[in-house]
Amino acid sequence: MNASLLQRLAAKPWLWAYLGALAIWLATIAFTEGRGGGDVLTAALSFATFSVIVAIGQMYVITLGPGNVDLSIPATITLAGAVSMKIMDGQDAMILPGLLIALGCGVGVGVGNYALIRLLRIPPIIATLSSSFIVLSAAISYSRGIRIKPPPMLADFTTWIVAGIPVLAVAAVVLTAIMSVVLHRTIYGRTVTALGQNARAARLAGLPVDRTRFATYVLCGAFAGLNGYLLSGFSGGAALNMGSEYLLASIAVVVIGGTSVAGGFANLPGLWGAAMLLFLLVTMLNTYGFGAGVRLVLTGLIIIGVITLAGGKRQAR
């Protein structure tokens, strides 16, 4: 019984991300001789939360099948952050309208992206990249570089930590669980996975192909918008470069987490392992005192290593 449980666990594609994160954390606290281990985890959870929120959307898009990716996430984060901060203007009473506006920005970008993809038949990689230039320009001209502080309640909520665990991370875990159920147990989720495996067969099985693709790009935009809103609250206001690191992060987290880049196979638990791994990796290299150059090279090599390991395991299965 125990053996079969272990076997089942070993077959899970997300296991490698968690093992990697654990190994890196142990390596870090071994260096500091156990000091600050808990603090590192708290920080990792805080920052992983933001990566996971955008990665959920990206994962759904990537699962749609080869060629599907959303490169407009950073621009959407910036736009949603800038617009919602300006509208809320630091007032607690505007927290809810601000959230809706941030989500609205994301939905708008998603609708625009899918219009480019479907109506003008532009490949998603080009469509979302070019739309991101327009969105970012809109954010720049809208905010004019003025940094507006978030409402105090929003700032408090996003940085609230209880017993070493960020409350926002708990909320994001709940969101991840919900999206996992959506992926596996709703017709929408099944259709996304079916499309990624064989789009033609999905159409012939009578699944709503166009509607599902549309909903997925909109969903991804909405998650990016949510991220922009929360991240602005967390970091004391919107900044024009606030989204830039989430371009690579959203894709890397999806892939390291065990989701197939070719589409048709996704899992949500892996996102957390992968996001923690990426943050802990940088922390470890900082702790060891490596320079920026070495750090980037090692980050790249370790990501390649994890993907190879996880990918190889999945093939063997």
Partner: protein, 494 residues
């Protein structure tokens, strides 16, 4: 008799056999291709003609048997290069030009001797001369990019290229359905050129479904059926009728393979006009299907049957002129890999995907209902597995096909479209599925069944024969004979 070779036989095939998995495509075929002769090769789809020609061209390796060219046994080292070196060229049904290259550049591919400065010019001259010879006034620019040419012109280039000569002689040209995209004038020019080529001592194998052109052009005609040669005679000894008889199975199976289903309801649930209507046939014939009916779509492969099924499938979802569908539609794909299977999923997931709507409670899919359906259909259709949660790819092709049948039959669709779904399915399974189709039809479901197998048409209440995207014949079960289907598949005005 100035020729160095005294052997009048150019190619001698002896007991050539080939099987793909369990399917025997060629069963010990022997025949000779003499010098200076045109051999016509006829037979319906899957008779083994193309397999035989692929072996002769070197693109397939024979499972057993000998290939002797000009008296030399080449069996062990036969391949595309060997075939080419001995002057054997082939124009396949699936055109093989590179669409991104020009006509001249494509010609060069076959002639490695064209090299050094100005090879493009020499290649252009080579292909232009041959085009001029085969198709006078062809109007094809050797510098044109092949992808920009019409399908007919591409076929002309392909043919001209096969007959072109540089440093190597051309001794035998295999033409597989060469006139399928050519109009009557171009076809006439080609056939006249074939006769000239043969008169000069060349050999040609002509494969065609147009019996008229085979009868008029070939010296000898070889008829194939089920991977065997069933007749070989001088062309003059055949008539169109005797050819058709040779191609079909002579033994008529007992009338009606099952109890006929009766038409339920007078109003058709499907009525669809083909997309291409000829001006000569005003209105064309529309396909009608009633409740409880099994309707067959017959004719040669690729003559519009699949397009028709897709039109009906689309017509059920959105309005399409000329198509009226009353009811939910499901499709059983014949091309499993492309059209049917989700390769990363389990058997159960693959089976239930079209029925999830009925299994959803509010937003969530009920896993117990899903498991129940999968188990139920595993038993009913006899899928050979212990566990429906195993990956679909753990099943054999025939069993995967059963999963696709279960997907369609288990859905709430009342109209089932079947796109030649029995490819690669063994005979036992077929019998089980036929019985299931009849039972479902008796319960009121409608089946539209495209099949290339004559035996399967005998399960249909009504058969529409397709040719060139049109319905040319409409046969009730009582009028259905293999001869009539073949006759209408080949020539409308026979």
């Amino acid at each position: 008799m100035s020729q160095p070779q005294t052997d009048p036989i150019l190619v001698h095939l002896d007991g050539v056999a080939k099987s793909f998995g369990a399917v025997q495509a060629l069963a010990r075929v022997s025949f000779d291709i003499p010098q200076g002769a045109c051999i016509g090769l006829v037979g319906h789809n899957g008779a083994g003609k193309s397999t035989l020609m692929h072996i002769l061209a070197g693109s397939l390796t024979a499972g057993s048997g000998r290939i002797v060219v000009e008296g030399v046994d080449l069996t062990d080292r036969y391949g595309i290069a060997t075939a080419n070196a001995h002057g054997i060229r082939c124009v396949f049904q699936e055109l093989s030009l590179c669409p991104n290259l020009s006509v001249a550049e494509n010609a060069r591919i076959l002639h490695p001797s064209l090299k050094g400065w100005g090879w493009r010019k020499r290649a252009a001259t080579l292909i232009r001369d041959r085009l001029d010879a085969v198709f006078p006034q062809h109007g094809i620019d050797p510098d044109a990019i092949v992808g920009d040419l019409s399908i007919a012109r591409r076929q002309m280039v392909e043919i001209a290229r096969a007959f072109s000569i540089s440093d190597r002689p051309v001794k035998l040209v295999i033409l597989d359905e060469p006139t399928s995209s050519l109009d009557a004038v171009l076809a006439g020019q080609l056939l006249a050129y074939v006769r000239r080529f043969v008169a000069e001592g060349g050999s040609v194998v002509l494969i065609s479904h147009l019996l008229g052109e085979v009868l008029s052009t070939a010296d000898r005609i070889v008829v194939m059926r089920d991977g065997k040669i069933v007749a070989e005679r001088e062309a003059g000894a055949f008539t169109r009728t005797s050819l058709v008889e040779c191609m079909g199975s002579m033994v008529q199976a007992e009338e009606g393979a099952g109890t006929p289903t009766k038409r339920l309801g007078d109003i058709p649930v499907v009525s669809a006009a083909p997309a291409t209507r000829s001006a000569t046939l005003p209105g064309g014939t529309s396909l009608l299907a009633h409740r409880g009916e099994i309707v067959g779509l017959a004719g040669l492969g690729g003559h519009g049957q699949t397009d028709m099924l897709m039109r009906i499938f689309d017509g059920a979802a959105r309005p399409i002129p000329g198509v009226a569908v009353d009811g939910k539609v499901a499709i059983v794909a014949g091309d499993r890999q492309t059209d049917g299977v989700f390769p990363l999923w389990s058997i159960a997931d693959n089976m239930t995907i079209a029925s999830l709507g009925q299994m959803a409670r509010r937003w969530l899919i009920d896993s117990r209902a899903e498991q129940g359906m999968a188990e139920d259909w595993r038993r009913r259709i006899g899928i050979r597995t212990d566990d429906v949660d195993m990956p679909i790819l753990s099943l054999s092709g025939g069993n995967q096909q059963k999963v696709l049948f279960a997907r369609a039959l288990g859905s709430s669709a009342t109209i089932i479209l079947m796109d030649d779904p029995m490819r690669g399915v063994d005979i036992g399974t077929k019998q089980e599925v036929y019985a299931m189709l009849r039972a479902e039809a008796a319960k009121g479901r409608t089946f539209l069944w495209y099949t290339t197998e004559m035996d399967e048409l005998k399960h249909c209440d009504h058969v529409y024969v397709f040719r060139d995207g049109r319905i040319v014949t409409d046969l009730a079960r009582s009028e259905l004979t293999e001869e009539r289907v073949l006759q209408s598949s080949f020539e409308a005005a026979a």
